[in-house]
């Protein structure tokens, strides 16, 4: 196992170590905003997977956060095969994780969720919890429970703008996340498969009547969402370079909160929710309330569900008898 790289301090989002010479409140504000946005971009990537699956199947895929973890581990092993600190090596690692996770997501859907389709949502929820536990415990047996240091697959430097410090990993996170979201937007709105996805999400029965193969569409949705989670896993591991089989639990829960915040089932909403949540959390982490960091996401969740259950960008639906 590679020993911890010496420059690891620069790569953490922890603002206190990131830039000790922060002086003016404005530059601190901007620095925190930047840190928050790069964390939020990762939440957004995971949230997209949750929201897409919820869109087509109306259930919370609890195993999604563990697909994210598997992505990070695929990256860890793939990272050993390519030279560290090169752009092409990093891209290969990223693609390997996305591909691996897509296959994993589709396998999970085929084996665990499809047989239960049409049954009560609760049963699928429990199965999802079972799959989540299975991935976590299998990970603990095969990868070991001890945390590992993630290799620096992308080149690392720090850019300095006035008093702002931007690490190349933060740039990578934001650029890759934005590119993936644009790609997703293209797939969902400009391709035949994307149209089918939206049709299934709107009304599965009607979609089937007009010739959409629901099985293929749902499988594709899982593949797409899981690939994004895999990419999220790599980006998260680059910035928090310690990975372990339980690393997905908290980011997964928070990404789900982000999905609800934006309006579950709504793709731009998930992106917005992720960015908002990441930013708020980073600001809380930098304040004197930092120990309540993990509670903030859930407090936001509760407030949003009580006052605007459809989320920021969601549409209200009335219940019919």
């Amino acid at each position: 196992m590679a020993s911890a790289p010496s420059e690891s301090d620069n790569r953490r989002f922890d603002p206190s170590t990131l830039n000790p010479q922060l002086s003016t409140p404005l530059s601190e504000f901007l620095q925190q905003l930047l840190n928050g946005l790069s964390l939020g971009a990762i939440y957004a990537l995971i949230a997209l997977g949750y929201t897409m699956v919820y869109g087509v199947l109306r259930f919370i895929n609890f195993a999604h956060s563990d697909v994210f973890m598997v992505g990070a581990f695929i990256g860890y092993y793939a990272g050993k095969l390519v030279p560290e600190g090169t752009l092409w090596g990093g891209m290969i690692v990223l693609l390997a994780a996305m591909l691996g996770c897509a296959v994993l997501g589709m396998t999970i859907e085929r084996l665990a969720y499809r047989p239960l389709r049409g049954g009560p949502t609760l049963n699928v929820l429990i199965t999802a919890i079972g799959v989540s536990l299975l991935l976590e415990y299998t990970g603990q047996v095969f990868f070991g429970a001890a945390p590992r240091t993630f290799p620096q697959v992308f080149p690392t430097t720090n850019f300095q703008f006035a008093s702002l410090t931007i690490s190349s990993n933060q740039v990578a996170v934001i650029v890759i996340a934005v590119l993936l979201m644009i790609a997703l937007q293209f797939i969902v709105h400009r391709t035949k498969m994307g149209t089918a996805m939206r049709a299934v999400s709107l009304n599965p029965k009607a979609a089937q009547l007009v010739g959409v193969n629901n099985d293929v569409v749902i499988s594709f949705t899982f593949g797409l969402g899981s690939a994004l989670a895999g990419a999220g896993g790599i980006l998260y591991a680059l910035n928090y370079p310690s990975i372990d089989p339980l690393m997905g639990v908290m980011p997964g829960l928070k990404a789900f909160v982000a999905a609800i915040l934006g309006g579950i089932g709504n793709i731009p909403g998930a992106a917005l929710g992720g960015l908002l949540l990441g930013t708020v959390e980073t600001y809380v982490n930098g304040s004197q309330w930092s120990t309540y960091k993990d509670a903030i996401a859930f407090a936001i969740l509760i407030i949003i569900l009580l006052f605007r259950p459809a989320g920021l960008l969601g549409r209200f639906t009335t219940e019919k008898v």
């Binding site: 639990v249 609800i260 259950p309």
Partner: protein, 317 residues
Amino acid sequence: MPRPHLALAVALLAAFGISQFSSSIDPYFLDVLIGIGINIILAVSLNLVNGHTGQFSLGHAGFMSVGAYFSAAVSLFVTPKFIGAAGGNFLQQGGFFVAALLAGGVCAAFAGLLVGVPSLRLKGDYLALVTLGFGEIIRVIFQNVEKFGGALGLNGIPAYTTIFWVLSFVAITIFVVTCLVNSTYGRGFLATHDDEIASEAVGLDTTRYKIVAFVIGAFFAGIAGGLYGHFKLTITPTGFDFTRSIEIVVMVILGGMGNTLGVVLAAVLLTLLPELLRPIAEYRMIIYSLLLIVLMLVRPQGLFNFQRSLTKKSASP
């Protein structure tokens, strides 16, 4: 159950009888038995909310932690002032232990009220998430309160939990939940479960029923938490996280929602399973999770649910 009070009396007597032999029972077996009892209380109380009333709560471990912390605090900080650090005689200990448990239960019930009133307006997945969120918030709060030991938790809790108390509270929990559900008032829970809109249409205050179920469920979760704290002797906030809630939910679902006997059996099975799989320690949790998936695939109505599927069609009174 034709004579619930008689059954309760018999169960309490049996608990007393078994406790007389507790010194001759293998201590490992006794520990497992106490663990089973605590899980039965948790599962049966959650069943009132998730099974009988049909609300999906994922925050039961949060209420358990409230009960565990407050009852442990009573035993650690209040009880010694009355009976001294040495711990008084058996009767005094028992009395103060019950008082501590009740204090924990009442605090948990109050927490349940605080959580329930705003969140029970929501339904299904959303309610599940809000309760999950509240459970996590309770955990983070305990992590930050110095009086409760912060992230290190509380240590040195007196070992008051005996097999007698556990079995007694198991009997009381099952008794209360069964009688409540079978009472005239309790029909409201089932009606809320079966069809909320129809129940409202005939004039039932479904929100009130949901809150009552929630508060009672939280109360018994608090009792279970208190028993757990005085059994493990040390409690930490991370011991009551989201995974713990999931474990209890799994018991309720495998037992068959709303089926008390099934839930009790599932609690026994799911507590025993990790113990039975201990020889293959490394793989036991993998097998546990695989079994969970397979069970959901082959018996989605719950492992021990034989009657509900038959009576479902004639469920309307």
